[in-house]
């Protein structure tokens, strides 16, 4: 087991399921024998604000939060949120971006513009950027809500944890009738990333 603590940051918009994705990840890591800490902010952020979930694992983890410049993987459930949390990515880290836009109120009201060319900007500073169609993949599976598991699949692949057995984790974390679709979304997410 790698002694170095690994850091995963899941970011998005309240209601997108970042917390559940973080929970599945943490439960899986626990079952593989890691020490895990996780941290999230609820409250106001539930109402359409930007949210982030920190997951850290290793042989012994102290802080529940990730510092700027130290995330091995940042997964953005919404495109613009990738831009907001970019400073957390470690140089050389992997940035997984869901190609999906949710306009914040200043944009809806025409007071601000939704940034253009986000992908290009991100790729220029962070070569480890991968843009994926997680929302569309989930739609194709017939359930937009499992977008979070598509992204989690991509995260797990990036961490090199795709060889582990995750089936028990899904059974423990999601309602029985959604286990199957969640697992399929997870598998589809792994396939979105190249080897």
């Amino acid at each position: 087991m790698n002694a170095k603590t690994r850091n995963v940051l899941l970011v998005g918009v309240g209601g997108q399921g970042t917390i559940l994705a973080g929970r599945v990840l943490a439960e899986g890591l626990l079952s593989f024998g890691y020490d895990v800490k996780m941290s999230e902010i609820h409250g106001m952020a539930q109402r359409g604000g930007s949210v982030s979930t920190h997951v850290r694992y290793g042989t012994k983890v102290y802080s529940p939060v990730i510092c700027r410049g130290e995330a091995d993987v940042v997964a953005a459930f919404e495109k613009m949120e990738a831009l907001r949390r970019l400073p957390y990515l470690s140089p050389g880290g992997r940035l997984i971006v869901n190609n999906h836009e949710i306009f914040p109120m200043p944009v809806i009201l025409g007071e601000a513009e939704y940034p253009r060319e986000i992908e290009k900007t991100l790729s220029a500073v962070a070569p480890g950027t991968f843009v994926v169609e997680a929302t569309k993949t989930a739609e194709d599976l017939g359930n937009t809500k499992v977008m979070n598991m598509v992204l989690l699949g991509a995260v797990v692949k990036s961490l090199g944890l795709d060889g582990m057995d995750w089936s028990g984790t899904f059974r423990a974390c999601v309602p029985p009738r959604t286990v199957e679709v969640n697992e399929r979304a997870f598998a589809a997410g792994m396939n979105l990333l190249p080897g």
Partner: protein, 588 residues
């Protein structure tokens, strides 16, 4: 068994394991989930009380009667419960009494950043500060034992990162405790001045005993590193940050039993290190005491008092380390503030209220605080629970003195009305205030994640119960029936008329809205089939619908309504001047 639990879940687990019998709380982020989780155990009676004072009094009564009892609240909740808290310190306990204060450094969902550790000093009670979920469980168990052993309530102080952080814990079995025998004892339980004075001597003596106990308590622990010059004294999550930042390069004294402070232990630790740091979030609580002992140390002269710490902040302060080089893109994303949900019933009252001239709105704690954000922009103040009403009274009086032609609308929600709004209403009636009070009754305590309240007709454990009738309560408080306007906030015309009538009234008026929270499961089911969409032929892109601030409506060249988000409330249909928006489907 090993499990990953949040700090809140771990406190609930610990209380259950400790044989807790009774628990009471009012929901408040970040501590809400303690009672939600404790409520899953049938062995513990759990209730949502109308406010924190009532909750702590319920727990206090249970404790005096011999049961192990717990009351949980967020930091500002302890202000509300401060009255019984201070006196319970004098009375002490029969069954163990644990009071959880969930503080919010960094203000992720609070109106101030108060450090409730000062309450331990002020009320002269012992305080425990766990630093992760495992300790939340263990310390809660220990808190009950300390409470009974020293005849004192115990303050268990958490912070947001502890409450909502998750880490690995080892769960155990419940140790059944019998409800202790109760005997009438006025000198102990009735704090009339003569008895209370005697009790104060006891309290001072107890502090001495507790201080002695803390010196050898396993809740405090030292980790000495040979050759390390730096020593760190830390508590709560501050310990984890310091440990992460300094690793084996420093010795640590971790203070879990943080009031009264173990002075000998601290002196001994300080004598063994060259440079002493105190790492704690918010106020210099430990540091003040340590300095008062004449021990020089570094702390808040370098570390920030405002906001949360992080390992990087600690490393920068203690080691002079530069912050890691962070990637930056020169493309600043616009802010993404929290919003009223699609289909939120509050929007239907805020919208006409925001259009009205000569109106001042005093707000309160809860979702309706989001009404003060653009585009609705309704609301001037947010002070504390209940102040939406009471501050309106003062605002109105001041306006009258200044000769301003304004009407003050005080706004709060159903849960807040029961919490402490009701007393403001009584004040307004009796002292003849001429304002308008609005109760946005969405039938649930929404902001904290849907907890039952006295209006929702359910108890914490899901049993059916009486649902209090808000208009009737207002009438019973002395508001005249013709001045009480009950409106459907999805009907903009009706809401607007109620606002107009209340504005023009000579006497105090009340507006009560009647639509439940759009996030309630039943509501979502019922409205599932209701959707609005835009007829592009008719739409002239005037943007009137965007001014509702409904996140389901966006403009992407044309006006688009997100069919997954829309709950068919129909407000946009009503504001569109071109009748370009239509609604389909029926509520089930």
């Amino acid at each position: 068994m090993k499990a990953i639990l949040s700090g809140n879940e771990a406190v609930a687990q610990g209380a259950w394991e400790a044989g807790c019998h009774v628990a009471a709380a009012y929901p408040g982020t970040p501590g809400t989930e303690i009672l939600e989780n404790l409520g899953r155990f049938p062995e513990v009676y759990c209730e949502w009380s109308p406010n924190e004072k009532v909750a702590l009094e319920v727990a206090s009564g249970a404790s005096i009667a011999g049961a192990r009892a717990l009351s949980a609240m967020k930091h500002v909740g302890l202000n509300v419960a401060a009255d019984p808290f201070f006196t319970m310190s004098y009375i002490g306990v029969n069954g163990g009494l644990v009071i959880v204060s969930a503080d919010d450094p960094g203000l992720s969902s609070s109106q101030n950043e108060q450090d409730n550790r000062w309450y331990a000093i002020h009320a002269k009670v012992p305080m425990l500060e766990p630093s992760d979920s495992r300790e939340c469980l263990d310390f809660t168990r220990a808190a009950f034992d300390i409470s009974e052993r020293f005849d004192t309530p115990v303050l268990l102080r958490l912070t947001t990162r502890i409450c909502h952080g998750k880490s690995v814990v080892e769960t155990g079995e419940r140790v059944e405790t019998a409800v202790r025998e109760y005997r009438r004892n006025l000198a102990k339980n009735a704090m009339l001045p003569a008895f209370a004075k005697q009790k104060h001597y006891m309290v001072e003596k107890r502090l001495d005993d507790l201080r002695e106990y803390g010196e050898s308590s396993p809740l405090n622990s030292a980790e000495m590193v040979d050759g390390a010059e730096i020593g760190v004294i830390a508590s709560g999550v501050g310990y984890q940050y310091a440990r992460e930042a300094l690793g084996d390069g420093a010795s640590f004294l971790k203070i879990g039993f943080s009031w009264p402070l173990p002075r000998r232990l601290i002196r001994e630790f300080a004598s063994k290190v060259k440079i002493l740091w105190v790492v704690e979030e918010n106020d210099p609580f430990l540091e003040t005491e340590i300095r008062a002992m004449g021990i020089p140390c570094f702390g808040k002269d370098v570390l920030p008092v405002v906001d949360e710490l992080t390992p990087a902040i600690v490393a920068r302060a203690v080691l002079g380390k530069k912050l890691a080089q962070a990637l930056e893109a020169e493309l600043p994303p616009p802010n993404r503030p929290p919003l009223l949900c699609p289909g939120c019933p509050h929007r239907g009252l805020f919208f006409p209220l925001g259009k009205k001239k000569d109106v001042i709105v005093t707000g309160d704690i809860g979702c309706y605080g989001l009404g003060s954000m653009p585009p609705l922009n309704v609301g001037e103040t947010t002070i504390c629970m209940g102040a939406g009403f009471s501050a309106a009274i003062g605002f109105q009086k001041a306006g009258e003195k200044a000769g301003r032609n304004q009407k003050v609308f005080g706004i709060l929600g159903d849960s807040t009305f029961f919490h402490s709004g009701i007393t403001g209403l009584i004040d307004a009636v009796v002292n003849k205030s001429r304002g308008v009070f609005v109760i946005m009754d969405n039938r649930i305590t929404a902001m904290t994640g849907q907890q039952e309240n006295p209006g929702s007709g359910r108890t914490l454990s899901g049993e059916d119960t009486v649902a209090l009738d808000i208009p009737k309560i207002c009438e019973a408080c002395g508001v005249r029936r013709e001045n009480i306007h009950v409106v459907d906030p999805y009907d903009l015309k009706a809401s607007g008329e109620a606002v107009d009538r209340a504005w023009a009234a000579e006497e105090l008026s009340v507006i009560v809205t009647t639509r439940p929270c759009a996030l309630l499961k039943d509501v979502q089911k019922e409205r599932e089939g209701l959707k609005c969409s835009v007829d592009e032929e008719r739409c002239v892109l005037c943007g009137a619908c965007l001014n509702l601030g409904c996140p389901a409506i966006t403009k992407r060249g044309r006006i688009v309504i997100d069919q997954a988000a829309c709950n068919g409330c129909g407000l946009c249909v009503q504001v569109c001047p071109k009748k370009a928006i239509g609604r389909e489907g029926e509520a089930r």
